[in-house]
């Protein structure tokens, strides 16, 4: 029987692959919302003492990552009227393979980073592979919205790493939530500043006017 936190961490990796493999923007957003909810459960599973600090962290994470940002994202989709499939720079099968390679790499590197007071051996490899998969999505997808999702996943990976330090370093993980402001700004950028109207589509690959 695996402990609950290991199960949650494995589910985080699975949601990464869901985002990597899906073609519909709405499914992508559902996957990120699910990942946000998993991340909100993680601190409770890792530190079962139910202190106020941990509960607050879990509630805040849930509110921002599982509710607020997904809602903003789906509103951006509605406003920009894009539901169509995503056009990746590299195909879905290769990007799934690259994601698998990232996970393998993360699991091979992790034992070399001995963290003090580690609650779960999976914490570091899951964190690193999520970071790499986030970067992968950010660089290989051309739609501005899915790049935002990639950034969100990158940030979630960093959040998982920070969870190892929750009790040693106060406020460190909470600081990371500031990154969510960026995501908010991005989405605001899409909704308010109408990237779609200026560029006819939400395709950041068409942002190519500035060059040398």
């Amino acid at each position: 029987m695996q402990p609950a936190h290991d199960l949650l961490l494995l589910l985080v990796v699975l949601t990464n692959f869901w985002v990597l493999g899906t073609t519909r923007l709405s499914a992508t957003i559902r996957a990120t919302a699910l990942q946000g909810a998993l991340l909100a459960l993680l601190p409770v599973a890792l530190y079962p003492g139910l202190s106020l600090h941990i509960l607050g962290l879990a509630a805040g994470t849930f509110a921002v990552k599982a509710v607020l940002l997904p809602l903003l994202l789906s509103r951006a989709i509605r406003e920009a009227a894009v539901r169509r499939e995503i056009e990746p720079v590299i195909g879905f099968a290769p990007s799934l393979l690259l994601g698998a390679a990232a996970v393998a790499l993360a699991f091979s590197i992790a034992p070399r980073l001995p963290l003090p007071e580690l609650r779960s051996q999976l914490l570091v490899p899951v964190s690193l592979s999520t970071v790499v998969i986030g970067l992968l999505i950010l660089t290989t997808r051309s739609k501005a919205l899915i790049q935002v999702v990639g950034y969100l996943i990158l940030e979630n990976g960093i959040f998982v790493f920070g969870l190892s330090q929750v009790e040693r370093v106060p406020f460190l993980v909470e600081v990371g939530v500031l990154l969510d402001i960026f995501v908010g700004v991005f989405i605001m950028g899409i909704v308010v500043f109408h990237i779609n109207r200026e560029f006819d589509s939400l395709d950041s690959a068409r942002l190519t006017e500035l060059r040398d």
């Binding site: 070399r112 980073l113 001995p114 963290l115 003090p116 970071v131 970067l135 950010l138 501005a144 790049q147 950034y151 990158l154 940030e155 990976g157 960093i158 790493f161 920070g162 190892s164 330090q165 040693r168 370093v169 106060p170 406020f171 460190l172 600081v175 990371g176 500031l178 990154l179 402001i181 960026f182 700004v185 991005f186 950028g189 500043f193 990237i195 200026e198 560029f199 950041s204 942002l207 190519t208 006017e209 500035l210 040398d212």
Partner: protein, 473 residues
């Protein structure tokens, strides 16, 4: 108390400017805050070792250097902004001044923070504060620029946060992430995690510095942002990012990991110099020219760190010269953009006839930014080169000299062509005191730094160099 005030003051002033309906009030708040900030910074020179918030904020040599550069540059930019906003009215005028002041608060936080998570918070805030200013024209090109700026800098910021987490987990003793405690117990830091922290922080803050190949946002952002915002980015934002990198370099040096740092720093520095030289030759836009010049100087800074020894001294001196010189150049180019309504080099001719004072400024700036005597950058580049020769990096010294010569030729061609020739038809340019006072004052400081380094400055430079694991020459 004073330290807290230095951070919170500009923030409150920004709020005040946002609420005030009249442009004149906003300008008065901007210039007044900038002047008060500079006065307070000057006071800190006489009171080293001030701390606040349980040691989370403190004044040390390196931070004071960055703070002084930021403060002086901001004062010049604030004065310039008054003249600029008279001739060019960006939409959302009240937001413009507030964003500038918010940036000042965030940059001050980076310079004073001795808690590495706080450094990171400050860096994120600088990024966010300047984003609306890049987008001030609200057209397709500036939208593209602000998108690239936000995406790339926030990935950099995210990786820097991961590096900060690594550093926290490498630490066994002392208060977490407080610089003094990290340095004191540097020997007990877990080496694997410390190296990981260094790499992530190098990539993260290196993106904010604009080191090639992480510089993709820089030419577009500098090209589209108003020149005074570009000047703040190239002079102050990059200095703050360098400080973030310098903090981890201090810790690595104290932990005896200097040899691990060298190869990545050398690679990023050399690539930055080569890329900037390649794009400066054949550049056709003045603002983009300055962006690549900024990539060049950031490259020199990390090369100086890699060389170590007296190179660290050269790095800190170069940081000061670069910050102030960038102010001169961006504000001079800003005048050209105001007068000619373009930054394309081909359309700007006859500056000496149409705007003689700006022409003088531009000519002086050209020599200053390319490291010619008698300007300050000549001394700092000389310090870096001689440290390279003495430290056994003869090939590197030769390479740097060749690339600097190429860059000089590229910049001189573009700027000299613009200075001479016949101006296109039009009124004589409305050169006014606010548009000239700031950049001329900065140019005077850069000139003085090339002629004479006062004793207190030299003492602080040596102190900063020792903190970076180097020495005074």
């Amino acid at each position: 108390m004073l330290l807290l005030l230095l951070v919170l003051g500009p923030m409150l002033a920004g709020l005040l400017a946002w609420l005030s309906p009249r442009a004149r009030t906003r300008h008065a708040v901007l210039v007044g805050t900038a002047a008060a900030h500079t006065a307070a910074t000057a006071f800190l020179w006489r009171r080293p070792g001030l701390t606040a918030l349980d040691g989370w904020l403190a004044v040390d040599a390196l931070g004071l250097m960055v703070l002084s550069v930021v403060s002086l540059l901001f004062l010049a930019v604030a004065g310039y902004a008054v003249g600029f906003l008279r001739l060019d009215r960006p939409r959302g005028g009240s937001l413009f001044v507030s964003c500038l002041l918010a940036f000042l608060a965030a940059a001050t936080l980076v310079a004073l923070a001795h808690h590495l998570a706080l450094v990171w918070v400050g860096m994120e805030a600088t990024t966010l504060a300047l984003a609306p200013l890049v987008f001030h024209r609200r057209d397709r090109r500036s939208l593209e620029a602000v998108w690239k700026y936000l995406v790339l800098s926030s990935v950099g910021i995210a990786l820097a946060l991961l590096g900060t987490f690594f550093l926290a987990s490498a630490q066994v003793e002392g208060r977490p992430l407080v610089l003094e405690d990290l340095l004191q117990h540097a020997g007990t830091l877990q080496p694997g995690l410390l190296r990981g922290a260094f790499l992530f922080l190098l990539v993260g803050y290196g993106t904010k510095m604009g080191l090639a190949p992480l510089h993709a946002w820089k030419p577009d952002t500098y090209g589209e942002a108003p020149s005074l915002v570009g000047g703040l980015m190239a002079g102050a934002l990059t200095s703050c990012a360098f400080l973030g990198l310098a903090r981890i370099v201090e810790i690595m040096a104290a932990a005896g990991q200097a040899s691990f740092m060298r190869p990545p720093l050398l690679v990023l520095g050399i690539v930055s110099l080569v890329v900037s030289a390649a794009f400066i030759i054949g550049q056709s836009d003045f603002k983009r020219l300055l962006a690549y010049s900024s990539v060049e100087h950031m490259g020199l800074l990390v090369l100086a760190l890699a060389i170590g020894g007296a190179g660290s001294y050269g790095a800190v001196l170069h940081l000061i010269n670069n910050g102030l010189t960038k102010g001169v150049m961006f504000l001079a180019i800003g005048n050209l953009v105001l007068f000619y309504r373009t930054s394309e080099a081909a359309a700007i001719r006859g500056v000496f006839r149409r705007a003689p004072w700006t022409g003088v400024l531009l000519l002086g700036g050209l020599f200053a930014v390319t490291g010619s005597p008698p300007f300050g950058m000549f001394l700092s580049e000389l310090a870096i080169l001689s440290a390279a020769l003495r430290g056994g990096f003869r090939w590197l010294a030769v390479l740097i000299m060749v690339l600097l010569a190429v860059i000089f030729v590229g910049m001189a061609r573009l700027i000299l062509e613009a200075l001479h020739g016949d101006p296109p038809d039009g009124e004589p340019a409305p050169e006014s005191f606010p548009l000239l006072g700031g950049p001329f004052a900065l140019a005077a400081v850069v000139l003085l730094l090339g002629l004479y380094l006062p004793l207190p400055l030299r003492a602080l430079l040596a102190q900063a160099a020792r903190a970076l694991g180097g020495s005074a020459p």
